[in-house]
């Protein structure tokens, strides 16, 4: 965790090697402080109810769905883009994977068919986004807004605006299981975070992402195929939407065109308070993880304390602002 690169050094040229620990740590310090404060508030107000292992698992299960999408979103935003369609893609993937047709096929072969179809649908939608943006030269905001509308519309058509119930017990048993006391969807979330961190910080793919987001023209002159890379980024995010769809399917035992409504805002908020720059070129998977955990812990603390809807919404807004300000100050002082 301490060996994160400082992406600010990677602008505009792709970074080489590990630019070490202390700066990355400092950047995340604000987030750690925020999370620690939240935990202290949680323990102070709810005591053992907050600090119990059951409650920690409740937080992690809640974080898993939005968390997986946020990791994908980190890549797209680092690469200079934005994706508003993730919730709609999640809904479409969940519906596609739970139609009577898919479920019948899954019944004949194996439930893994449902998993594959959700992920394939997600990846396909992401690829379409990427193609429209990279080769159609449509602004990401607009292209993904179009996808938001049409993917949810298509989900409603396929599901006939009804909730589709998953009958396959094998699927539910597998994803509902808790080997060594940890729910499967939390394990998947952890794997996605680890894979995302490795991909962004330890591979050429990650370095290209920083370069494309920091300065596309410089990246092109440096020989990076910017358009193709952009398509990859959106396809990657689509894939994480598919994974999130599978998680939500197992949690709700349903597929529905209403799944994932407004999840794009939670994901973008988590990425941004994590320290990824909305204008691109600078991004951190660990920061995003903290961002997601801060939001879900906040929700949990509020739920434990019986606090009203309206107070929560206000607190969330305030925390976004405070977290970003705090984190900017610390980062700037250190650099």
């Amino acid at each position: 965790m301490t060996s994160l690169q400082d992406p600010s050094l990677s602008v505009p040229a792709p970074p080489k090697g590990d630019r070490g620990g202390s700066i990355g740590l400092a950047r995340n310090l604000g987030l750690v402080i925020a999370l620690v404060i939240l935990c202290i508030v949680g323990v102070a107000t709810a005591g053992d109810r907050f600090a119990s292992s059951d409650n920690v698992l409740t937080i992690l299960r809640l974080a898993a769905v939005v968390g997986v999408i946020s990791i994908g979103m980190t890549f797209v935003i680092t690469g200079g883009g934005i994706d508003l369609s993730v919730g709609a893609i999640l809904a479409l993937a969940s519906v596609w994977a739970t139609t009577t047709g898919t479920q019948a096929m899954a019944g004949d072969v194996h439930w893994i068919i449902m998993v594959f179809s959700a992920i394939l649908v997600g990846a396909a939608c992401g690829t379409i986004n990427g193609l429209l943006i990279a080769y159609g030269r449509i602004v990401p905001f607009i292209a993904t807004l179009a996808m938001l509308a049409s993917a949810r519309g298509l989900a409603e058509i396929i599901a006939d605006r009804k909730t589709q119930i998953i009958r396959d017990q094998g699927f539910l048993d597998f994803f509902g299981a808790e080997p060594i006391g940890i729910p499967v969807i939390v394990i998947i979330f952890a794997l996605v975070v680890a894979a995302g961190w490795f991909l962004l910080n330890r591979t050429t793919f990650g370095r290209r992402t920083f370069a494309v987001g920091g300065n596309p023209e410089a990246a092109r002159l440096a020989g990076i195929k910017v358009q193709r890379h952009t398509v990859y980024l959106y396809a990657l995010l689509g894939t994480t939407c598919g994974i999130a769809a599978v998680m939500l399917m197992s949690r709700t035992t349903t597929g529905s065109s209403t799944h994932g409504t407004l999840i794009e805002l939670d994901a973008i908020a988590a990425v941004v308070i994590g320290g990824t720059l909305l204008s691109g070129g600078r991004g951190t998977v660990v920061g995003t993880l903290f961002g997601v955990l801060i939001f879900t812990t906040l929700t949990n603390v509020f739920t434990l304390n019986n606090l009203s809807t309206s107070a929560q919404a206000v607190a969330k807004g305030v925390i976004i602002v405070i977290a970003v300000l705090l984190q900017q100050r610390i980062a700037n002082r250190k650099t």
């Binding site: 939500l248 739920t303 900017q328």
Partner: protein, 350 residues
């Protein structure tokens, strides 16, 4: 990193603007009056069941209060709980995010509450976690949107959605008095919910009995904004209407706005759910609104009461039955100028 500075200053400016906007909005929208009307109708049972018993911890979760009926659901549940000193009600954040609502129920399970009163955003999606609560020995009372497994709740409190449609359709048939060829239009609520499908089914079944049918149908989303949008489109599509049934009085505020904007008054409009505003309009009898169908917003309050009885091992005192019934279906009466005074006190504010 001197280039960051202007950006930072801008960030502070934006934050300041947001803070100011929040204050202004908060001041403008703080309408505390009016909402208390429903609480008049919520009282104790006035039976031996009211006697303070063992303490009952009840977890309550409902969708986001984005329309008046739903706001009244949570409000009346809270009001009801306050009347019993042996109830401790834990209210979770209202949410339309099933993932979050599931985690709220998980929190209640972790807390080992005695009972959970749950109005799910999507009944099917909440079934599995409700079942988990039942397995953990918690009494689950399902309100309004039904689970898809009988094992997921001890007792279910439902409004009569099919009955709402029947009441509205029957009113149209009575009012039409045998005339045929009349144009009937319908503005439904959220189409993906089974309750909307039931309402529409009831309406069309009742109309069939007197030889009428729904000629134009659009769906809104229970909110004022969606009602306005749907109604504008409908009025554009149907130049002449004789009867219009709108499923929900909250979206009805928008529907009426669209009707006024279009300057239409050739038809009779029937509301749904039974808001206080609509009932007052029926009483005043100076608009297209001539009737509405009640869909009680006190369902969750009933859920809280039943949860208390179930945990304390009491029965419904007016029934011979020893146990609290598995399901309660509330009536959906039609409200017209003649009987509006009976229902006005328990109506909710949009």
């Amino acid at each position: 990193m001197s280039t960051i500075h202007p950006r930072r200053r801008r960030a502070f400016a934006v934050a300041g603007a947001f803070a100011a906007a929040t204050l202004v909005l908060g001041a403008c929208t703080n309408n505390s009056g009016g909402d208390d009307d429903t609480s008049d109708a919520i009282s104790k049972s006035n039976t031996d069941n009211d006697k303070s018993g063992e303490k009952v911890v009840i977890g309550f979760s409902a969708p986001a209060a984005d329309h008046g009926w739903m706001g009244s659901i949570t409000k009346s549940a809270t009001t009801q709980a306050e009347q019993y000193d042996d109830i401790e009600l834990k209210v979770a954040e209202g949410t339309n995010d099933v993932n979050l609502q599931i985690s709220q129920v998980e929190t209640f399970i972790n807390d080992k509450v005695d009972a959970i009163v749950l109005l799910p955003f999507d009944g099917a999606a909440m079934t599995s976690v409700a079942r988990k609560a039942m397995d953990a020995g918690i009494v689950v009372v399902n309100v309004d949107r039904e689970f898809n497994s009988p094992f997921a709740a001890r007792t279910t409190v439902l409004g009569d959605n099919y009955g709402m449609g029947v009441s509205a359709g029957t009113f149209v048939c009575d009012d039409a008095a045998g005339k045929t060829g009349l144009k009937v239009a319908e503005i439904a609520g959220i189409d993906s919910l089974p309750l909307t499908q039931d309402r529409s089914q009831g309406f069309s079944d009742a109309l069939k009995a007197c030889g009428l049918k729904v000629d134009n149908r659009v769906a809104a989303e229970f909110t004022v904004e969606s009602g306005e949008k749907a109604a504008s489109n409908l009025l554009q599509a149907a130049p002449k209407i004789d009867y219009l049934w709108n499923h929900d009085d909250d979206q009805g505020v928008g529907v009426l706005a669209a009707i006024n904007n279009a300057g239409r008054d050739e038809f009779t409009m029937i509301g749904g759910a039974g808001s206080a505003d609509v009932m007052e309009a029926i009483k005043a009898d100076n608009s297209v609104l001539k009737a509405t169908v009640v869909y009680p917003s006190t369902q969750a309050a009933d859920g809280v009461k039943l949860a208390r009885l179930l945990v304390q091992g009491k029965s419904l005192s007016d029934l011979a039955e020893i146990e609290v019934p598995r399901m309660l279906k509330l009536a959906a009466p039609i409200v017209t100028k003649e009987n509006v005074d009976t229902y006005l006190p328990s109506a909710f504010r949009s």
